[in-house]
């Protein structure tokens, strides 16, 4: 057997952790992903340090927090510095054959770094996120069969779960418990039309011959069907690995860049807001030759910037010094006891500019600019009493707010200094999309 494992990094865009069976969901959205988790290791509490897609994937590939690499917004002005370490580039230098089955390089140029092969079947679509798992798998599996030499590193970026939610027609009837999806008297989604992405949905994928889809339970069912469809793709990819004899020494990592808000907190079917539904992500790793104990679940906090150092260590690569993440490979392979972080910190600067500091007990959210949902600049949630983060208790717990704000600001200042920054990148970038939101409302 080759010494270095093949590595397949799967990013399921917008896949909310608690809509998977292995993360406690009650509906059978993910039987194959659950089986995959049972064959490997599942991390229960992994958080995205930056959302949405561009900041989060930049963190996944650099092993750095957004405050360090500077890409805090989706569609923002910041560019990734050329000297920043990049996972695919390092593995390429280590002798890996690298292949991205992905679209991200079309959005920001740094996502093209380090790939010997880039395969993009989304070019067959007007909108890249309309590409399906079947189209991606078709190319990915063919590439694996004809890969010129091992070891290889492949990145597959599935878009099925990202809006627009248009699952295959054969899934009609799944996960919807009755009612009228197009009831014209149902106004539960009306607030969504106030947002540009909601208006886009209303004008396109929610329009049907029966009328406009108005039932949020039906939209959630469409989302869950997309997960089920993705789940079939994970099974197909896994089967292909088995048939090609690659499964044993291929480390497969399944994660998401962020979750999805399903009307939670006034955010409709989108991925902004720093609540757990959006910043907590599924992370599952299978690697039979790595001696992972099948079915292991890791409870400590980890962050997505830990992925790059973990994969680099698995590949036998020396870790760059300027990573924020810590490898959890020794824990994964049973050489160390599970451990993690006491607290996690993240940010966003697309529809709103905010930071979060999360401990096991509390979530503190601090706004750099007022948001358009009318939330206060400081929010505090008691996650033990209120895991859904529905009740802001900042006014009732001023001491906790003061302590967490002090902790958060000190952390940001230290991280900026370490990165050689003189300005908070979230404050500098601002909520890059909010002007369009205001114009839309106007």
């Amino acid at each position: 057997m080759q010494a270095k494992p093949n590595i397949i990094l799967i990013s399921a865009d917008s896949l909310r952790a608690n809509h998977l069976g292995c993360y406690g969901y009650s509906l059978p959205t993910s039987p194959n992903i659950d089986k995959f988790a049972g064959e490997g290791a599942l991390f229960e509490k992994v958080f995205a340090p930056g959302i949405p897609t561009q900041p989060s994937h930049t963190t996944i590939f650099t092993g750095q927090h957004p405050v360090t690499h500077g890409v805090v917004a989706h569609g923002g002005k910041a560019k990734l510095a050329r000297g920043t370490p990049f996972l695919s580039e390092i593995l390429l230098e280590e002798g890996y054959t690298t292949c991205a089955v992905d679209t991200l390089f079309r959005e920001r140029i740094w996502f093209g770094r380090g790939w010997e092969y880039i395969i993009d079947p989304s070019l067959h679509h007007l909108f890249y996120a309309s590409v399906t798992q079947e189209e991606l798998n078709d190319r990915a599996i063919h590439w694996m069969k004809t890969v010129p030499k091992a070891p290889f590193f492949m990145f597959i970026h599935y878009w099925d779960v990202h809006y627009p939610y248009v699952p295959p027609d054969r899934m009609r009837g799944m996960f919807y418990k009755g009612g009228n999806p197009t009831d014209p008297d149902n106004h539960a989604l009306d607030a969504w039309w106030d947002h540009p992405v909601g208006a886009m949905a209303r004008d396109t994928w929610l329009r049907t011959p029966n009328g406009l889809i108005t039932d949020p339970n039906y939209v959630t069912a469409l989302y869950d069907r997309e997960i089920r469809y993705l789940d079939e793709g994970i099974a197909a990819l896994s089967d292909a690995l088995d048939k090609q004899g690659l499964a044993e020494n291929t480390m497969v990592v399944l994660l998401a860049d962020h979750g999805e808000s399903m009307t939670d907190h006034g955010i409709y079917y989108d991925h902004y807001g720093l609540h757990d539904c959006t910043v907590q992500v599924p992370t599952i790793i299978r690697w039979p030759a790595g001696n992972l104990k099948a079915g292991t679940r890791f409870a400590p906090f980890r962050q997505l910037f830990d992925i790059a150092p973990t994969l680099l260590e698995a590949a036998g690569s020396e870790l760059p010094e300027d990573l924020d993440g810590k490898s959890f490979l020794p824990q994964l392979t049973g050489k160390e006891e599970p451990s993690g972080y006491d607290q996690v910190i993240g940010c966003e600067s697309t529809w709103q500019s905010k930071y979060y500091l999360r401990t096991d007990r509390y979530k503190f959210i601090l706004a750099r600019y007022p948001d358009l949902l009318g939330n206060p600049d400081r929010e505090l949630f008691d996650l033990q009493a209120d895991p859904g983060e529905d009740h802001n208790i900042a006014a009732e717990e001023p001491q906790v707010v003061a302590e967490m704000e002090k902790e958060l600001e000190a952390w940001i200042a230290a991280k900026m200094e370490a990165a050689g920054r003189t300005e908070d990148p979230v404050r500098k970038e601002g909520p890059v999309a909010v002007e369009i939101w205001e114009q839309h409302r106007g």
Binding site: G38, P181, T204, R297, A299, P300, G340
Partner: protein, 58 residues
């Protein structure tokens, strides 16, 4: 404060079995009443136009 691994937890909980419901969890009555979703090329073009306005697509 730098974030460092500190807490230790046992990793002994087993992955729960997938739900025991059948794979094809479809309600035929619901399915018949559900609208057909059709994304027309002009819809997809509109999505692209809107996302380009947002800076999501260059």
């Amino acid at each position: 404060m730098e974030q460092e691994p500190q807490k230790k937890f046992p990793a002994d909980a087993a992955v729960p079995k997938p739900p025991a419901k059948p794979d094809d969890l479809k309600d035929s009555t619901n399915a018949a009443n559900e609208p057909e979703q059709v994304i027309r090329p002009e819809d997809e073009a509109l999505v692209v136009e809107r996302l380009r306005e947002l800076g999501y697509i260059e």
